[in-house]
């Protein structure tokens, strides 16, 4: 069975990658060449007057000479246009689900990201959890599926990895690399943020084999943020050789899984295009955020006594922070300068035992562009509430090095509690702290937008694609 699936795995990966070569790209390029022909005729007049008097009374040849030159110049002019070539491209999606065995609930929390603090990889869960399980996807892509005479809004898609967890029993986990999904969207609202009802049929095939039927109400995307409410049913099979069974302490037998579920989910850095948008150039796309970034980190100094990086109190660098999937969405008030934002995960360490972690912290701030296309500044207030509480009042200067890289300075005051999460707990203590901090930050795959790029400042948007009639 294992060899059979491995063979199919590699053959289908080859097939998919050959298909992706044709249609799985992010950007479609259109290049047109124009030939411009310029014809030019020049006339040069030479008049050489004779130094002596001429008898002008009779017909006399003029000394004027006319030189005529005809030139033809051809030059090619190339115009290249870039268009998005996908319907959906996302980094992370999670769903907190209700539907697994209530006695083995994981406690994934709302959206599947507020995971029970007492859970662990080997946990068998427990009762009394609202969200027993979860669904997680990484690296999601969807492309237009043109069938049924080009029927509207069908897509075919996949993700690098998908896990359907009915509950905490790992032998029941349905997991697959590159599961294949076919979806159709019925749009209830065709302006940003879109609202759509999306039935989907999908199946995973390695290492688990399963079928997943679902329907969802989707809101988004705006700034890469999406909210979804799901109802679905997954049925599948885990062979005895799958990692879920082979590494299981409780059973070594193959398993079937029936998983009806409802759930509430969210996704970040997850961008959705309607089909007409794939015919609008990238430069004319609508942007709703001041900043969208994948990964950021800072080196920080603070007034903490000891550094978290060494035992010495003389170390200048006292800590660091790491932030995954940040977005700051424009609030269209006060000249679009106010924003609300969040991050998928944030870890802030400002000194020894002065650290905090947070999932989906809430951030509000004021965005200012100091130098167009280069430098921005933002004071902000950020509140983390899970798993740790913290309050962070700060400011940042961000310098855009490129569309993908930013560096900056940041400083502020943070007050919070540390070590509440089980896996970070040290000496079973909880520390409350309040510190001032200052640091330098680096962000990769991070895009800062400037006022002229925001859809609120562009009266020419949304641009409609050309219709051929």
């Amino acid at each position: 069975m294992k060899i059979k699936f491995l063979l199919i795995f590699f053959s289908v990966i080859s097939l998919l990658s050959s298909g992706l070569w044709g249609c799985g790209s992010l950007t479609r390029e259109e290049k047109d060449i124009y030939t411009i022909t310029e014809r030019d005729t020049t006339y040069q007049h030479f008049v050489r007057n004779s130094p002596v008097n001429q008898n002008q009374g009779t017909v006399f040849p003029s000394s004027r000479e006319v030189l005529s030159e005809r030139n033809s110049i051809q030059r090619d002019s190339t115009i290249t246009r870039y268009y998005p070539d996908f319907i959906r491209m996302g980094v992370f999606e999670s769903i907190g689900t209700i539907g697994g065995n209530a006695n083995y609930g994981i406690g994934t929390g709302l959206f599947g990201v507020f995971i029970d603090q007492n859970t662990s990889a080997s946990s068998r869960g427990g009762s009394g959890k609202i969200f027993n399980g979860g669904i997680y996807r990484l690296g999601i892509g969807e492309w237009r599926l043109r069938w049924f005479r080009d029927a509207k809004n069908w897509t075919i898609g996949t993700s690098i990895y998908e896990a359907l967890l009915p509950d905490a029993r790992s032998e029941k986990y349905l997991m697959s690399t590159f599961p294949i999904y076919i979806r159709k969207r019925y749009y209830l609202r065709e302006e940003i943020p879109y609202i759509a009802i999306t039935p989907a049929f999908g199946f995973g095939w390695f290492p688990s084999q399963y079928i997943n039927l679902s329907g969802s109400i989707d809101v988004g995307s705006i700034g890469g943020l999406n909210l979804r409410a799901y109802i679905g049913y997954a049925v599948g099979y885990n062979g005895s050789w799958t990692p879920q069974i082979a590494n299981n302490d409780y059973t070594k037998k193959e398993q079937t899984v029936n998983f009806p579920y409802i759930g509430i989910g969210m996704s970040m850095l997850d961008f959705l295009n309607r089909v007409p948008e794939t015919y609008v150039e990238w430069k004319d796309h609508e942007h709703s955020s001041w900043q969208i970034g994948w990964l950021g980190g800072s080196l920080l100094t603070s007034n903490a006594q000891y550094s978290s990086l060494s035992d010495s109190s003389k170390t200048f660098i006292k800590g660091f922070d790491v932030e995954v999937a940040r977005t700051n969405v424009v609030l269209p008030i006060l000249n679009n300068s106010l924003y609300a934002g969040t991050s998928l995960f944030k870890l802030i360490v400002v000194g020894d035992n002065n650290w905090t972690t947070s999932v989906l912290p809430i951030r509000v701030g004021y965005w200012t562009t100091i130098l167009q296309d280069e430098l921005t500044a933002t004071p902000f207030l950020e509140i983390g509430y899970y798993p740790n509480y913290y309050f962070n009042l700060g400011g940042e200067f961000n310098l855009r090095i490129s569309d993908m890289l930013d560096v900056g300075l940041k400083g502020g005051f943070i007050s919070g509690e540390a070590d509440k999460f089980e896996i970070f707990k040290s000496d079973s203590k909880t520390f409350n702290y309040s510190k001032f901090y200052f640091g330098i930050s680096f962000r990769i795959i991070d895009r800062i937008f400037f006022p002229k790029e925001l859809r609120y400042n562009r009266k020419d948007l949304p641009k409609q694609p050309k219709r051929y009639e």
Partner: protein
Amino acid sequence: MNKSENILMEIIAKINLILLILVSTIFFYSCSTDKLILNRYNLDQYQINAHLLNGIDKAVKINDNSLKINEDAIISLKIDDVTQYNLEFDLSLLKGNEIIMFLNTTHYDFREKPDLEIILSDKGYKISQGSTILAESDTIKFLPNENHRIKFTLDAAKMYFTIDCTDLQINIPHQISTEYVFFKTNSQTATLIRGIQLTNLRE
């Protein structure tokens, strides 16, 4: 694990394999179906990309250098990097009464900048640029199931146009040449274009 679960497992495994192959095939063939490639297998000819601009069922590739254009279609032929060329083909109306060709335009500029418009219909032919009529005649008519040889040469500001045995030479000043030829049919007309041959004048 009981017997019914075993049966269920086997069914799931088999269904998934079939689905995987089926959907992968769909995935493979569902992309770029709005583009047909002509002269794909003839290395002596330029490859021509036929874009079906207003629907994927508007044209069908008959063979490597022939195309059937259905009713109410807008098709563009793009010859990458070639703007000064000689193009010739056989044209016959399968039904209907009119086909229009547009030259010196692109997808992006189609109908936005004055392009060269050649109307071939059962009333004759007409060549115009914007509101200016460059040539017009009712001596050659395009009727269904008649074969006509069309040949045109775009050479800088000159266009040589041949319908069957009639030659025309037209001067088009200030015209920008492009890689595209457009075909447009009306709601009654279906057309067959066969034996497309292209010569690059810059070679």
